[in-house]
């Protein structure tokens, strides 16, 4: 069922979301003088999220390129 795939994709997305929230919190929020997130922390977290997304895109592109090269190399060898 296509919907199984959708659920799995959605699950992966949510897991990544939780992961990036944890990582960005850990990197960006280092003082607990108040209960509210200040502007510097917020901007850091936004940058962190954007960078994370760009990083995963780039990693995915390079990986696909490598897969393609591997497939071609294997194809040529046969």
């Amino acid at each position: 069922m296509a919907s199984e795939q959708n659920i799995q994709t959605f699950r992966d997305f949510l897991t990544q979301y939780n992961l990036v929230a944890e990582q960005c919190f850990t990197s960006c929020v280092n003082e607990f003088g108040s209960r509210t997130v200040n502007a510097k922390e917020e901007s850091c977290a936004n940058n962190c999220l954007d960078k994370f997304l760009k990083m995963t895109q780039r990693v995915s592109q390079r990986f696909q390129e490598h897969q393609l090269l591997n497939a071609q190399a294997n194809g040529a060898a046969m």
């Binding site: 944890e22 919190f25 607990f32």
Partner: protein
Amino acid sequence: MATDAQMQQVAELEVEMMSDMYRRMTNACQAKCIATAFKESELTKGEAVCLDRCVAKYLDVHEKLGKRLTNMSQGDEAALQKIAQQ
């Protein structure tokens, strides 16, 4: 059209992800707030206050990033629809 089974799965997924977030938040706040010297078993006042604020901040960051992600994917979807219509 979402079937009942699918709605059930999404609900279960949400519970699972909430638990996952809770676990991560607990780990993060322990790392931030609890010293590792362990001279005593009670939480110090400082640790307790830190934990309160840490939870508040973690949930705030989690929510803000979630909104940002949603906006981004809505933007992507809109762009994709535009392309599909052309």
